[in-house]
């Protein structure tokens, strides 16, 4: 049920979502911003992912939730394959430490269908979110970061985001190890 989706499969599944929306809600247009593994797959820096993380809108419209459920049934995907979990995380970030302005940037526009536009979140925000999720044991996120090849300044900005959200010592230690593994210095993680 949770098979990895390659870039073409992600696009095909999103096209099916668009097709369902067109059939059931003709004339309406939808737009989402995605992050995480699916975003990296669409940018060509990752082979595949099991889900598509939506960061905007904060709550997927009911129509899209229903469309995703039908496509999950059609293609044997997990029930959360199109998920706004990261959007909810960003709500927490907004409440706790504020969301940096660069989260408004978009890296790429993908016209999935005339009624569905998908934006890939900006590169810095992708790196920051990946750093937030990464721990030395969560290899998936570290590997994703490695593939993104962040610069020292991008790592520094991402580390600032993580530390602002969670200034605890264990997180700081994990962050420092991840940053070192990515070729950064201890200074980059502060």
């Amino acid at each position: 049920m949770n098979a990895s989706m390659s870039r073409p499969v992600i696009l095909e599944n999103l096209r099916l979502v668009a097709q369902w929306l067109e059939i059931k809600h003709a004339g309406r247009r939808f737009e989402i911003v995605i992050a995480g593994g699916a975003a990296l797959a669409l940018l060509g820096t990752k082979e595949g992912t099991i889900d598509v993380d939506v960061v905007h809108p904060e709550r997927l419209p009911a129509e899209m939730v229903e469309a995703a459920q039908v496509v999950a049934k059609a293609k044997g995907l997990g029930p959360e394959w199109l998920s706004s979990g990261v959007a909810r995380l960003l709500e927490l970030v907004a409440q706790r430490s504020g969301v940096p302005a660069y989260f408004g940037a978009r890296e790429r526009r993908v016209d999935v269908a005339p009624n569905l536009t998908v934006w890939v979140l900006g590169r810095q925000a992708l790196i920051s979110l990946k750093l937030l999720a990464a721990t030395p044991s969560a290899r998936k996120h570290v590997d994703d970061l490695t593939a993104l090849r962040p610069s020292a300044s991008e790592l520094q900005e991402g580390a600032r985001f993580v530390r602002a959200y969670d200034p605890s010592q264990p997180t700081g230690e994990d962050l420092a190890r991840v940053v070192r593994e990515l070729g950064g210095s201890d200074d980059d993680s502060h």
């Binding site: 099916l16 097709q19 369902w20 059939i23 059931k24 039908v70 496509v71 049934k73 059609a74 293609k75």
Partner: protein, 263 residues
């Protein structure tokens, strides 16, 4: 799978065969409810307004609504209309617009037409004289027969469904089948049990079921739209996933259309 247009044509044909049982002077033979199942009047009306393109039949139906408005459960008509997706509601109104003047005000209100109705269908009065008399309709269409006996309301419809071999497994399911409020159905079932008409399991006492189930029901109205929508999908997996799960005993028409559309 058949195209959406072909399925709509098939649905329109099948719906037309249900109207002689309501007294319309059409060449097809009436549906025999003892063989096929009951026909819910409001479901038939809504489906006809959605799928039938034959202007003469639509005109006759509008006239039938004017003449027989007292036999309708207006709340059910309104519930069914409200449950339609916006695109289908628009279509229903477009179909009605040409005939809305013939409707009574209460029927026009239940169908949500812009027209105020008023029963001004004078030009059609000649047609009305060719409608079968109510005593004949009462024999052909059980729900209308029971409404003549019990009054036009959910009580008559509940009794009609209880006369079927297969009944919904719960009051809530029965309410869904009839587009009724569950508390209304629960109260009716309690009344029928209190007067000894049914036992505590909702089975009629002293009556043999006469109908196999429901051929055209309020769930048919929901399912046919879903079948036609599924036919619009180009991806076969998406199409399959969009097809509704049907219960043939409560939606004989939907099951028949689905079988034809996918064969």
């Amino acid at each position: 799978m058949m195209t959406p247009t072909d399925i709509e044509g098939l649905v329109a044909q099948r719906l037309a065969t249900a109207w002689p049982g309501f007294g319309l002077p059409l060449p097809s033979r009436p549906i025999v409810e003892q063989d096929r199942g009951l026909v819910d009047p409001e479901a038939l009306i809504i489906l006809t307004l959605l799928f039938v393109r034959d202007a003469r039949l639509l005109s006759d139906v509008a006239e039938w609504l004017r003449v027989n408005g007292d036999l309708l459960v207006h709340q059910k008509l309104a519930t069914l209309r409200r449950g339609l997706p916006q695109s289908q509601r628009d279509r229903l109104h477009a179909n009605l617009d040409a005939h809305a003047a013939a409707l009574s005000r209460s029927v026009a209100r239940a169908l949500g037409t812009g027209s105020r109705g008023g029963g001004a269908g004078l030009a059609r009065r000649g047609r009305e004289s060719r409608f079968a008399p109510r005593q004949q309709v009462a024999k052909l269409t059980r729900m209308l027969g029971n409404r003549l006996f019990f009054g036009a309301g959910f009580r008559a419809d509940v009794v009609s469904v209880l006369e079927c071999h297969v009944r919904p497994s719960s009051g809530r399911e029965l309410a869904r089948l009839l587009a009724a409020n569950p508390s209304t159905v629960s109260r009716i079932l309690a009344d029928l049990a209190a007067c000894g008409f049914v036992d505590n399991k909702g089975r009629m006492i002293g009556h043999q079921p006469a109908f196999p189930g429901v051929f055209i029901s309020c769930t048919t109205a929901r399912h046919l739209g879903a079948i036609i929508d599924a036919a619009r999908a180009t991806d076969p997996d998406l199409r399959r996933a969009m097809l509704p799960t049907l219960e043939p005993e409560f939606d004989g028409l939907g099951a028949a259309v689905l079988a034809s559309a996918t064969s």
